[in-house]
């Protein structure tokens, strides 16, 4: 049978208790095209890909490969059909080298011994053919994120996969690396591979994809040729309304110093070297200061030092003119520090607790929620939870008693943001507050941050997304290898300049 399509998913419907994750969705991937899959969080992209990968069985609909109906019961079936995927979080063995990671699971052996010569030849040939530069003998934990990603791509190519799925591949890359990846994807498509590209980022989709299919709330909205459409149109298709890309923000003169960081040093967890080296800066009321930089340059330690999760090796922290260097986390909380943590599952929520129990996580001990005898005041907790849920539009299956684990990522984040902002903090530390969220939710969260600033509160934000950094902040500090290498004014700089600072190619002497 001759068909232009490599993979067709026809009228796929997948239900979960209470929701229809995929409602009659059709996705047709042409041979040799780059096809973007766009949708908000919870739109059903992951479910659809899991169906394609054999992790879920759809209740309705069929999958065709090259025009022939196939049944994909598990990931092995998908592999056998030549479907490969680069996950958002790489699946690499950190302490193995690149070559070993590529051949892992499909190694050639002779009498039980590994035969790596042939494999090496094949890997190098592939790497040359598609312009994927790697060092086969480098250990994964020593190489850049970009090279790790190329390793993942080579893994798929080594298995002769024809259909390549990229799950939000640019989230972790620098602007320069993103450009490289785009080129690689184009090369792959030119060589006849079919690519499914899952992304939130409209700009990239416009740049690299041939066609784009949009999902919204589990429903198929449509497929468009990217050359016939605009970013505005795509975002309207995705969210169902027009979205403001730029954060409306009025000029504001910063007030008094709220947080003063002096010569802060934080040891890295391995204690081999310091993760934060002698960093000093101030955050004033009524301004949003953004720490920019590539993931892993000491942002985590910086924030954990400020919030009290990690001890300082040396230096001094002052919050509202009081020395808090040695104060406990709870004390800092009570003094008016709020913290939206980077990892909402690890730090932000107790996933097995209900939503209402999560909303009081930092206030449960207050007399409003615990009586003198130490009993929880369930009625007050319920009322408070309902208030936050309504105010911050936190959506969930069963309201306050929903188990946090079963909520969507966006709503989990909204719950955390509601909890942190409702404490009415003087200083709001927000780390990657929009990570993994869709445009609608991002817009909402940015508005909340700006509202805090307008109310005269100090906001310290950490973000790896250039656009977000440029858009939201009043002042940018670039962190590179644990040091502040630049202080920039977002109105006077460009993304390219910022990128150079982030990559360590440019630095100023900064005395903030």
């Amino acid at each position: 049978m001759d068909t232009p399509y490599a993979i067709e998913m026809l009228n796929i419907t997948k239900r979960f208790p209470g929701i229809i994750a995929n409602d009659n969705i059709t996705l047709q991937l042409k041979k040799g095209e780059i096809h973007a899959l766009l949708g908000e969080n919870g739109a059903g992209k992951s479910t659809l890909m899991s169906v394609l990968f054999g992790l879920y069985q759809p209740e309705e609909g069929i999958i065709k490969k090259d025009g022939v109906e196939v049944s994909i019961k598990n990931p092995n079936d998908a592999n056998a059909l030549g479907i490969g995927m680069v996950h958002q979080h790489f699946k690499l063995v950190e302490c193995f080298n690149v070559l070993d990671n590529i051949i892992l699971g499909v190694e050639d052996t002779k009498n039980g011994f590994l035969q790596k010569k042939e494999a090496r030849k094949k890997v190098m040939a592939l790497s040359e053919r598609y312009g994927l530069s790697i060092d086969p003998d480098a250990i994964i934990e020593d190489i850049t994120i970009g090279m790790q990603q190329r390793t993942e791509i080579l893994k798929m190519l080594y298995r002769d996969n024809e259909i390549l799925i990229f799950d939000e591949p640019t989230a972790v890359l620098t602007p320069q690396e993103i450009d490289e990846l785009m080129q690689i994807m184009k090369n792959l498509a030119k060589e006849g591979k079919s690519i499914l590209f899952i992304s939130h980022k409209l700009e990239e989709i416009m740049k690299v994809a041939d066609r784009c299919s949009v999902l919204r709330k589990g429903k198929y909205i449509g497929t468009v040729e990217t050359k016939d459409t605009t970013m505005e149109e795509l975002s309207a298709m995705m969210v169902g309304r027009n979205v403001n890309f730029h954060v409306a923000k009025e000029e504001k003169t910063p007030g008094d110093v709220v947080l003063d960081v002096e010569n802060m040093v934080v040891a890295s967890e391995g204690h081999k070297m310091d993760a934060v080296k002698n960093v000093s800066f101030k955050v004033r009321g009524g301004e949003i200061v953004c720490i920019a930089g590539i993931d892993g340059n000491g942002q985590r330690e910086l924030v954990e030092g400020i919030t009290g999760l990690l001890p300082l090796k040396s230096g001094k922290l002052t919050l509202l003119n009081k020395d808090i260097t040695k104060e406990s986390i709870r004390h800092r909380n009570k003094m008016g520090m709020s913290h939206i943590p980077e990892d909402r599952h690890k730090h932000g929520l107790v996933l097995d607790y209900s939503l209402e129990d999560n909303l009081i996580l930092e206030r449960y001990f207050e007399p409003e929620f615990t009586n003198k005898a130490g009993f929880l005041r369930r009625k007050n907790i319920r009322n408070y939870a309902n208030k936050i849920i309504e105010q911050y539009d936190v959506r969930s299956g069963q309201g306050p008693v929903t188990i946090a684990r079963s909520m969507s990522g966006g709503n989990q984040q909204k719950a955390i943001i509601g909890r942190e902002i409702d404490k009415n903090p003087e200083l709001l530390v927000a780390v990657q507050p929009t990570r993994g969220l869709d445009v609608g939710a991002i817009e909402y969260i940015h508005k909340q941050l700006v509202a805090q600033r307008d109310a005269g509160k100090a906001v310290l934000m950490v973000s790896y997304e250039l656009e977000e950094v440029m858009d939201v902040s009043d002042r940018i500090l670039v962190l590179y290898e644990g040091e502040i290498v630049g202080e920039l004014d977002p109105k006077k700089t460009t993304e390219e300049e910022l990128g150079l600072y982030m990559a360590g190619a440019k630095r100023d002497e900064v005395k903030a």
Binding site: E59, R332, H339, H347, G348, V350, L376
Partner: protein, 372 residues
């Protein structure tokens, strides 16, 4: 029907029952191998326990004995499940129970204290033993299982040394409380009448029930329970929100230890048991508490039933015909059943996957036959 099956409580109960049946089946098969002729009878004897006796009055009396031994098991089971809620596996409960025996008997026989101070001392001793494990974990990140097991041995020999001072001259056993210090015996408060005058039924029974309910309340209704469970589910989030996770960790082990220590006092101060000063291992009570806690679905209320059941089986072993099987067979069979009781969560997992599969099949079938 499916709705009922999805209910947490029903599931826990069904899984527990399945575990018990599985244990019996395996025990039965083992008996078949040893001597097929008496296997069925032996299992029945085990289950019947005191019903093997043909005199109702005697039955009631023996029932009392089982109840008396259920009480410390219940306490050990609470000890295990309480620390488990905080994410700790308190295998040291066996040692904490043992130090409770040491404290209560020494206070009773050497210092001639009354029953209440003896009991309080046992609670304190168990709490201290728990605190040791907790402090090691909090300060040096020593795994609580390792330090718990090692502490079990230390406590065992410590107990043997200490109680040798109050043992009978002619035997390795400690003296009878009844003869040496009757005021250390827990009062019967008339409860023995309900068990045909069984002297071992004392206020231990209401104390145990009250403690169980208190533990349930602490876990489910109080700020402390909220903190402890949050720490158990996600210690990083607990730290993030400013809970003193190290203090909570130690506190939960102190409470665990105190429960085990109390359990010891509630048995030994009835006079039912005496300590053998040449004992080569800590009493199995603490270890049985593990299976009991899981069999009871990690709920304090569930533990009441599971601890009775396990003690019932353990006592029932005494009625197995020793002319057909060797004398260890009773312990063997009851331990096989107890062992399987630890599988509750595995069985529950199997049930859930089976249920999910069936659900899927049904939705598919429904669709073919039109919606619902």
């Amino acid at each position: 029907m499916r709705k009922i099956l999805k209910n947490e409580g029903v599931q826990a109960f069904a899984a527990s029952i399945l575990c018990i049946l599985l244990g019996m089946l395996v025990g039965y098969i083992a008996l078949l191998f040893i001597n097929p002729s008496g296997a069925g009878e032996a299992i029945m004897d085990l289950i019947k326990n005191f019903f093997n006796l043909n005199n109702p009055a005697k039955q009631l009396q023996r029932f009392g004995n089982t109840v008396a031994k259920t009480i410390p098991l219940l306490m050990c089971s609470l000890s295990i499940l309480f620390s488990y809620k905080v994410g700790l596996f308190n295998i040291g409960a066996a040692g904490q129970y043992c130090i409770g025996v040491c404290a209560s008997l020494y206070a009773a026989l050497q210092w001639h204290w009354g029953w209440l101070p003896c009991m309080l001392l046992a609670i304190v001793a168990g709490g201290i033993a728990g605190a040791l494990v907790g402090i090691l974990k909090a300060a040096f990140n020593v795994n609580e299982v390792i330090s718990g097991i090692m502490l079990n041995w230390i406590i065992l020999y410590f107990t043997n040394i200490v109680l040798t001072k109050v043992k009978e001259v002619a035997s390795p056993y400690t003296g009878y409380l009844n003869d040496l210090n009757p005021k250390a015996l827990l009062p019967n408060a008339g409860l023995d009448r309900f068990f045909n005058g069984n002297q071992y039924i004392t206020i231990a029974l209401p104390i145990a029930l009250i403690v169980t309910i208190v533990i349930w309340i602490i876990l489910n209704k109080t700020k402390l329970g909220y903190e402890l469970k949050a720490t158990g589910f996600n210690s990083k989030a607990a730290k993030y929100c400013g809970m003193a996770e190290k203090r909570n960790l130690i506190l939960s082990l102190v409470i665990s230890g105190a429960l085990a220590g109390l359990g010891a006092s509630l048995l030994y101060q009835t006079g039912y048991m005496r300590w053998e000063c040449t004992a080569a291992s800590v009493p199995g009570m603490g270890f049985n508490g593990i299976a009991t806690a899981f069999l009871g679905g990690l709920s304090p209320i569930g533990a009441i039933f599971s601890s009775y059941f396990i003690q019932h089986i353990a006592d029932g072993g005494a009625y197995v015909d020793k002319t057909v099987y060797c004398s260890q067979i009773s312990d063997f069979i009851s331990s096989v059943i107890i062992y399987f009781c630890g599988f509750v969560f595995f069985i529950k997992y199997l049930m859930n996957t089976a249920l999910a599969k069936k659900n899927k099949k049904d939705t598919n079938a429904n669709k073919e036959g039109g919606e619902n």
